[in-house]
């Protein structure tokens, strides 16, 4: 009997202590689940997030880090089914307007007005580079805050150019690039003319290829959504790209994406490369690159039309409407996309490694200009002059430089990219690949009700 009484007392004491404590915890402490792409910038964010948690002890962060393609699958599934597992998702310029339109994301402007206390001090939305901001907006509202922004540019190995007595103009054309590639292509010496993406995927081979199609005057659709993949311009552009890779590209290009191409240039095996401006920082990083100081940076090549010849992309953070902790999510989102965060990265890891391309203030910062003087100008100029709303010679019903801003593009973009890869690998002719692509796109657009 006495034993039982004792037990009861112990139980009561334990309950009296823990229950209120647990209730208090439930009121204050919040865990945010954040999805991030696996890349060097995001890995730095993970390391620096301790200082955010120190400043906001009530907010705990739990990160889900995945490679780009898997991240896209996970986030899209979660958001479209309204599963609500994530409080902050990392998405790009392609997804943001589509998700925003469907009402799946909380508008950042509205949240900032609703919870002014949860915004990082001096956030200054007007400091965000205009093109990047517009790319992340739908109907005049900002649906995601940019973490970094990029365009595309041309990188070249200065030593190889000097050795061959060649000079790269500041605004090259694709014809000039082909001529350079021809002269610098020496496979016997393990030196290849040009590295270009050939890996299937709408965000892989299609990104640089779409800029080539734009500048050749081609387009995916006419104003009535009729696919134009077999038009003269489209065919010429794809033939040029495929032939350039086959003649003077690196071996196995049909399987090369951003990282493989980066390696080829960083190891001093490729003379030129057209890809994301963000690569400039990696090529100038002695830990990753053997060609530091030897790389030249110029605008991406153009050809017939000076439009849409360099892309616009940004990885940004957004808050799904299903999140239960939107105020706290806003706190973290405005911290990691703020000027303060950029300063923190600069001080901790060196100024060349700060996430580029989001804020005008980065390009006015003397520290950054000093560390990135070789490429800062070209990067900013490329980003500022890329216009997703006017990237093609003819009028088109879609936006986007290196993608078509409709939900169906993920599907048919992937299918078409695989046809292109086959053409690059030489198992199919360009005409054959494009005629099948035209069929694929026509079917997808008919299914989706754009055309009858």
């Amino acid at each position: 009997m006495r034993k039982k009484l004792f037990l009861l007392v112990v139980l009561a004491v334990v309950a009296g202590v823990t229950v209120p404590a647990m209730m208090a915890a439930a009121q204050e402490n919040v865990t945010l689940t954040v999805t991030v792409v696996n890349n060097p910038d995001q890995r730095r964010l993970l390391q620096l997030s301790d200082s955010f948690q120190a400043a906001h002890p009530n907010i705990k962060l739990s990160f889900v880090m995945l490679p780009e393609n898997e991240l896209r699958d996970r986030v899209t599934t979660d958001i479209t089914t309204k599963a609500g597992s994530f409080d902050i998702v990392q998405i790009g310029t392609y997804e943001t307007p589509i998700f925003g339109k469907n009402g799946w994301l909380a508008a950042i402007d509205d949240l900032m007005a609703q919870y002014p206390d949860n915004v990082q001090p001096n956030y200054n939305v007007d400091d965000l580079i205009k093109g990047i901001r517009l790319g992340l907006s739908y109907d005049g509202k900002l649906y995601a805050a940019p973490f970094y922004g990029e365009s595309s540019m041309l990188f070249y190995n200065k030593k190889m150019f000097a050795a061959a007595g060649l000079k790269m103009p500041s605004d090259p054309t694709w014809d000039q690039v082909r001529e350079f590639a021809r002269k610098l292509h020496k496979p016997a010496k393990k030196q290849y003319g040009i590295a270009l993406r050939g890996l299937p995927g709408w965000g892989e081979v299609m990104a640089p290829l779409d800029t080539v199609i734009n500048t050749w005057g081609g387009k995916w659709f006419d104003e009535n959504w009729q696919p134009q993949l077999t038009s003269q311009e489209f065919t010429d552009a794809v033939s040029f790209y495929v032939k350039l890779i086959q003649d003077y590209g690196v071996p196995g290009a049909a399987n090369n994406g951003f990282s493989e191409s980066l390696t080829m240039l960083a190891q001093g095996q490729a003379a030129m490369w057209v890809d994301a401006t963000v690569a400039a920082g990696f090529l100038e990083d002695p830990k990753q690159s053997k060609v530091v100081g030897n790389v030249g940076f110029v605008m991406a090549p153009y050809e017939k039309v000076k439009k849409g010849y360099h892309w616009l992309w940004s990885w940004a953070y957004a808050i799904p409407t299903t999140s239960q902790h939107q105020a706290e999510a806003l706190q973290f989102l405005t911290w990691c996309t703020s000027k303060d965060y950029i300063d923190l990265v600069g001080k901790t890891y060196g100024w060349a490694t700060v996430p580029p391309g989001t804020r005008y203030s980065t390009y006015k910062n003397d520290n950054y200009i000093k560390a990135a003087k070789a490429f800062a100008d070209v990067t900013l100029k490329s980003i500022e002059s890329a216009d997703p709303t006017d990237a093609t010679r003819d009028k088109v019903p879609y936006t986007g430089v290196q993608f078509v801003g409709i939900p169906e593009f993920q599907g048919f973009g992937t299918d078409v990219s695989k046809q292109i890869s086959a053409a690059i690998a030489g198992t199919k002719s360009v005409e054959q690949a494009l005629s099948e692509s035209q069929d694929i796109v026509t079917r997808a657009m008919t299914d989706a009700g754009y055309i009858k």
Binding site: P251, A254, G411, A433
Partner: protein
């Protein structure tokens, strides 16, 4: 005896939760998939709510331009992998069933490919062996004056067949090896006394004895190989064009690239039927051949 009766009377009530749990867990997804396969639900089109479309998704599948190619890919892939791993597995099993020094060590080594995660071995093959710039095969060929071949892109299906065969040969070998070990020595001795050479012994003693084991191995491996996804995803993502897109991989593309849940469900239902048909065919062929072999 009375104990048994007590246990039995308790059965229905005790089992019911478990049975309901099992039904919910295994049958509900099947029923849902069947239901979804009759709708046009697309994740990315909330503006166009899912509606009933009958058998349209199934019809679309049969009318699609690449369906024939995908079916052919699936058949070529599974027949090649199962056939090759059966041949190699048999050779290895025959070797390993002999007594020699270090046999256990050799056997452990032989099993290793099967224990490596599929995606890991695929990435390993793709980058360390098949890569045309710095892969082992191309470097060796180039050193001997040969061409640098882009295996994964130019011989995409063959490359994947090689990778998956490499992974699954140990599985076949293990099953056949256990069969060989249950073969009684005196049968072999009797064959020897009758003056049968190695080939004749293999054909009329070992093979008939192994027929059951071969059947099981082929059946299990076919079922697994039909579902191969990781190796394709990490090496070719179904390309170039659709040269390595199998039924399974096509379901992934439909669901997670085109976000068309209705059609993806229909493909999944079809894939289940297809897998059943294939295995039945396999078994029938094997039975007939096995029957001929054993018949006196």
């Amino acid at each position: 005896m009375s104990d048994m009766r007590n246990v039995r009377s308790a059965h229905p009530w005790m089992l019911r939760p478990a049975i309901i749990y099992l039904i919910v867990l295994t049958q509900a997804p099947v029923l849902l998939t069947l239901y979804y396969s009759t709708t046009n639900w697309n994740f990315l089109r909330p503006d166009r709510p899912a509606r009933f479309v009958g058998l349209q998704n199934y019809l679309d599948f049969f009318l699609a331009r690449d369906t024939g190619r995908i079916m052919l890919n699936t058949l070529v892939f599974s027949v090649a992998v199962v056939g090759l791993s059966l041949v190699f597995g048999m050779c290895l099993a025959l070797l390993l069933s002999r007594e020699f020094r270090g046999r256990n060590f050799a056997r452990t080594l032989m099993i290793t490919p099967f224990l490596i995660m599929p995606t890991v071995s695929a990435v390993m093959w793709k980058n360390m062996l098949f890569n045309p710039a710095f892969g082992l095969i191309s470097s060796t060929l180039a050193a001997l004056g040969g061409p640098r071949i882009d295996w994964i892109n130019q011989y995409s299906m063959a490359s994947i067949v090689v990778i998956v065969t490499w992974e699954w040969t140990p599985f076949m070998m293990l099953i056949l090896l256990s069969g060989l070990q249950s073969l009684q020595k005196d049968h072999l001795e009797a064959a020897q006394i009758d003056g049968a050479g190695p080939l004749a012994t293999f054909r009329s003693v070992i093979l008939p004895h192994l027929s059951r084991y071969i059947e099981i191995g082929v059946l299990l491996e076919t079922l697994f190989v039909l579902n191969i996804f990781g190796e394709i995803f990490t090496t070719t993502t179904g390309g170039p064009a659709n040269y390595t897109t199998t039924l399974t991989f096509n379901i992934y593309l439909e669901a997670f690239k085109r976000w068309n849940v209705g059609r993806a469900s229909a493909y999944a239902v079809f894939a289940v039927i297809f897998a059943n048909v294939i295995t039945l065919l396999f078994l029938r062929v094997m039975r007939r051949q096995g029957g001929n072999g054993v018949a006196p």
